[in-house]
């Protein structure tokens, strides 16, 4: 157990010059007014041991937020606190220095002087000191140096906070810290769950794949069965046997046709089957395309096509001639004949000519007579009444003659014109059949040309010129019959061969089905392939490792909870009497006959839970006053401290103003309790309470050292006298 023997402070908070405190008595009392440096002295000891861990928000101590280490009033602030600690191995020195940053980083350095004389500094010193102390700052601040915050934690009505505070008071923070630390890490259970989920999804896909392949295999089996291969024969030997048979059949077939044998080799391995099938298929295709008689068949088909085309041409010609004859008969029935139409048209043309001449003649005569009459009328001034031809005297002779002329010649002209119009109308009627006759004549000439051309073409087909004695259509039809006969012969021959090839093709298809079924069966071994893979083996190992890790973490957590529970029990059991005694001494509360701190396990978290009950087991938490709870916190601290064995890391207790808010009687009670504590623990106590100091003087039976803090100035710091 570590106990302080000397503390030297310089530049720490309110301190300026170097100040030394000797802790050479079981009790050290720091007495003085407010702000004279008492608390800073206790804080200096604390800072020396824990450095920056005792400041900041993480301490959960309100005043430690933005807490300044250095004295703000010094021109060159530099902090040094040296603490001498003694235990069974001897005395060691802990020296911590701090230089605030002016330029660059602040300097915070720790040095240790070990009992064997060795010096360590820096991070090695921090690690060594942590091993010596075996406590976190939080533990120290609750079990050695009781802060108001700890008291507040116990006083609180919030069970989890109270349980936490009591755990700390019992020095079980390590367990809590371990559990909290585990809780801050990613939860391996979740990780395992996520992997299981992903694995499940993968397994789902495998299930689907297995089902799919099974269906495909079933389909292949059905197809193979349709081709006559029973499911029991869907084996590799069957496939190789079929392949061998196919090869023999093809070779025999080629031999029968005097064709070179297809380049196929014996298949002895399943993996060669696809290439073999491809070669067989090519050979079958080639044989189908180059079968003997097939060229002749093709030529005969071509000739037959040409012959049929010519027969067809003749048939078309015949039909056209029939149509032509029909049209001529129709015209003849309407118009007599082409000669008659043409003759009549010639007659009309002749008559029209005559009428034209006659019209010209009458018209000429009319002009002459009109000109003569005009002349006579112009040459004679008076009227001519005597005819110069017949010398007949007629009144208004010229008028009479002009009327006569008009009557006679005009009538003639009109008759001529009427006759001309009638003839022309008749001619127009005759022009259409005349044109049709001409067109038919032309067409007839074309048909004759076509007939001649066809005869030439047919001659070419038969390789000779046709004579008038030849009937080309009969010749063509005879040829067609011959071709047809030969083609039927060839077709029968080729069909037989093709059928044989089709049989071989059927065997090849069977071979394909068997091979596909075998492939599907191979594919079906998905599970085996996955399980045999290195990745799956590794995954399985990882899953095993993770499961083991999860198991271990759960076991560790359970073990921590059990250990925490057991240690709490071990600590509480011997301290129960002292806690009860101190509580009753401190409070003098007669209503509480007995106070018990019962240890339980939280049903949800498995962590320690504490019930504060009376002797009958009734929960006291709701009925205890704040003062009682404060007293309980003090009683627990002091009870545990006095009951703790020699294995506790610290052999001292620090109390800062413990009589705060206590009445005169309670102060005396506290002094009595502290006298009890002094029997097992060194006591460092700061107080400004003269009444309490008097109580301590009177009731503490152990030797005391007293430091009187008489005043404080910014430049000189606290003025301290040892009494």
């Amino acid at each position: 157990m570590l106990t302080p023997t000397r503390l030297t402070v310089r530049g720490f908070r309110g301190f300026t010059g170097e100040q030394t405190f000797e802790f050479d008595s079981p009790v050290t009392i720091l007495f003085g007014g407010n702000h004279y440096g008492k608390s800073s002295t206790l804080n200096a000891l604390e800072w020396c041991l824990f450095g920056d861990k005792c400041k900041g928000a993480d301490t959960k101590i309100r005043e430690r937020v933005r807490w300044k280490i250095e004295n703000r009033h010094l021109e060159h602030p530099g902090v040094m606190v040296e603490l001498r600690l003694a235990d069974a191995d001897g005395e060691c020195v802990v020296r911590r220095q701090y230089l605030p940053a002016k330029e660059g980083a602040a300097k915070n350095e720790l040095e240790l002087e070990c009992p064997d004389g060795q010096s360590v500094s820096g991070s090695a010193a921090e690690q060594l000191l942590a091993r010596w102390l075996r406590s976190s700052f939080r533990d120290f601040s609750t079990t050695v140096y009781q802060h108001q915050e700890t008291i507040r934690g116990i006083v609180t009505q919030e069970p989890s906070e109270r349980n936490d505070a009591i755990d700390r008071l019992l020095g079980l923070s390590d367990y809590r810290n371990l559990l909290s630390g585990i809780a801050t890490r990613p939860d391996p259970n979740q990780r395992q769950g996520a992997i299981t989920t992903k694995f499940g999804a993968f397994e789902g896909r495998v299930t689907t794949a297995v089902t799919l392949v099974e269906r495909q295999l079933e389909e292949s089996r059905r197809e193979a069965e349709k081709l006559g291969v029973l499911p029991t024969r869907l084996t590799e030997p069957t496939a190789l046997e079929i392949a061998s048979q196919v090869m023999e059949d093809l070779q025999r077939f080629s031999q029968q046709l005097n064709l070179p044998p297809p380049p196929l080799g014996h298949v002895t391995r399943r993996q060669d089957l696809p290439a073999f099938e491809s070669s067989v298929q090519s050979a079958i295709d080639r044989l189908r395309g180059s079968m003997p008689g097939q060229d002749e068949q093709t030529a005969l088909y071509q000739r037959e096509t040409a012959v049929i085309a010519k027969i067809d041409d003749y048939e078309k010609l015949r039909r056209r001639k029939d149509d032509f004859a029909q049209e001529v008969r129709q015209l003849d029935s309407n118009h007599g004949s082409q000669q008659r139409v043409e003759r009549r048209m010639a007659e009309i043309d002749e008559s029209l000519q005559e009428l034209n001449s006659k019209e010209k003649e009458v018209s000429g005569r009319h002009h002459i007579l009109v000109a003569a009459l005009d002349y006579l009328q112009e040459s004679e001034t008076g009227q001519i009444n005597r005819c110069p031809v017949c010398d007949t005297e007629t009144e208004g002779l010229l008028v009479v003659l002009r009327n006569k002329l008009e009557t006679t010649l005009q009538g003639k002209l009109e008759g001529i014109r009427k006759a001309t119009a009638a003839l022309r109308a008749e001619r127009i009627v005759l022009e259409d059949p005349a044109k049709k006759y001409n067109k038919l004549n032309e067409e007839f000439a074309g048909l004759l040309d076509k007939k001649q051309q066809l005869a030439k073409d047919v001659g070419k087909l038969f390789k000779r010129d046709l004579t008038l004695q030849d009937d080309p259509v009969a010749l063509l039809k005879g040829e067609q019959e011959q071709l047809d006969r030969r083609l039927r012969q060839l077709q029968d021959l080729i069909r037989g061969r093709q059928e044989r090839l089709t049989q071989i093709q059927g065997e090849l298809n069977k071979l394909r089905r068997v091979r596909e079924a075998l492939q599907q069966a191979d594919k079906q071994k998905i599970i085996e392939r996955i399980k045999e893979s290195e990745e799956y083996r590794q995954l399985n190992e990882e899953r095993d490792r993770l499961a083991l890790f999860v198991n271990d973490v759960e076991a560790i957590k359970a073990a921590i909870k059990v250990a925490s529970h057991e240690e709490a029990s071990q600590k509480l059991d011997p301290a129960r009497g002292a806690i009860d005694k101190f509580f009753r001494q401190l409070t003098g509360n007669t209503a509480v006959q007995e106070i018990k701190v019962e240890l339980k396990q939280d049903a949800r978290t498995g962590r320690n839970a504490y019930d504060i009950t009376d002797g009958d087991g009734q929960n006291l938490t709701p009925i205890l006053s704040q003062g009682d709870l404060t007293a309980l916190a003090l009683a627990m601290l002091l009870g545990l401290a006095s009951a703790a064995g020699q294995t506790a890391p610290f052999g001292f207790v620090m109390l800062d103003d413990p009589s705060q808010s206590l009445g005169a009687e309670h102060k005396g009670n506290l002094a009595t309790v502290l006298d009890e504590v002094c029997k097992t623990r060194q006591l460092l106590l700061a107080t400004m309470d003269a009444e309490f100091r008097a109580c301590l003087d009177k009731r503490l039976t152990k030797a005391k050292t007293e430091y009187i803090f008489e005043g404080w100035t910014p430049s000189a710091g606290p003025r301290v006298l040892r009494k």
Partner: protein
């Protein structure tokens, strides 16, 4: 499991349903123990732990069999009590879990440190009895494939005859009464 084994188990499950499937697997596991070289085997169709297998002084196992399609199995208090009862007779308690899925194997785990309740199958992995799994897995596969057709058509009644032919003791015939048949049914998970 292998593909063939998975397909066979799946068909048995589809044909007979979860409850009957559990009983079938229990009997097939008993046969697997026999094929694995165990001497005295007791298969309980109705009451108590499902299978006891005695392969000599250091190989006496009592096995509760669970089948499931889920990620968890229910390891009930009565299962622990039953195993503990057999443990007192010198049998080492085991839990055999068959999850019906393509990538799951027959898990055989020690139950000494198992708690009762619904257990995640992944959490059983640290407790696996690898040696026995390796020994029984091929025997179980053989038992399933050999008796698949019979079990498919004749269910546990066919297997009852088979287990007797193998010289396995059947503590109570599964067909004793419809009521008793359902009492120790394997939970579907």
């Amino acid at each position: 499991v292998t593909t063939d084994l998975y397909r066979s188990l799946r068909e048995l499950h589809a044909r007979h349903g979860a409850r009957e499937f559990g009983k079938i697997v229990q009997k097939l596991l008993a046969i697997a123990f026999r094929l694995g070289g165990f001497g005295r085997i007791v298969e309980r169709g109705v009451q108590g732990v499902d299978v006891d297998a005695d392969g000599g002084a250091r190989e006496r196992y009592t096995t509760e069999v669970k089948t499931t399609q889920k990620e968890t199995v229910l390891f009930a208090r009565k299962d622990i009590d039953g195993l503990a009862h057999r443990q007192r007779d010198g049998y080492r308690p085991l839990l055999a879990v068959l999850r019906l899925s393509p990538l799951s194997d027959l898990l055989i785990v020690h139950t000494e440190s198992l708690r009762s309740g619904r257990l995640h199958i992944a959490s059983l992995r640290p407790h696996r009895f690898h040696e026995l799994e390796a020994r029984l897995q091929p025997c179980f596969t053989r038992a399933v494939l050999e008796h698949f057709e019979g079990a498919l058509t004749g269910s546990q009644f066919y297997l009852d005859r088979v287990v007797r032919e193998y010289g396995i003791e059947v503590s109570e015939p599964a067909f004793s009464s419809p009521r008793s048949r359902g009492r120790n049914s394997v939970h579907p998970g």
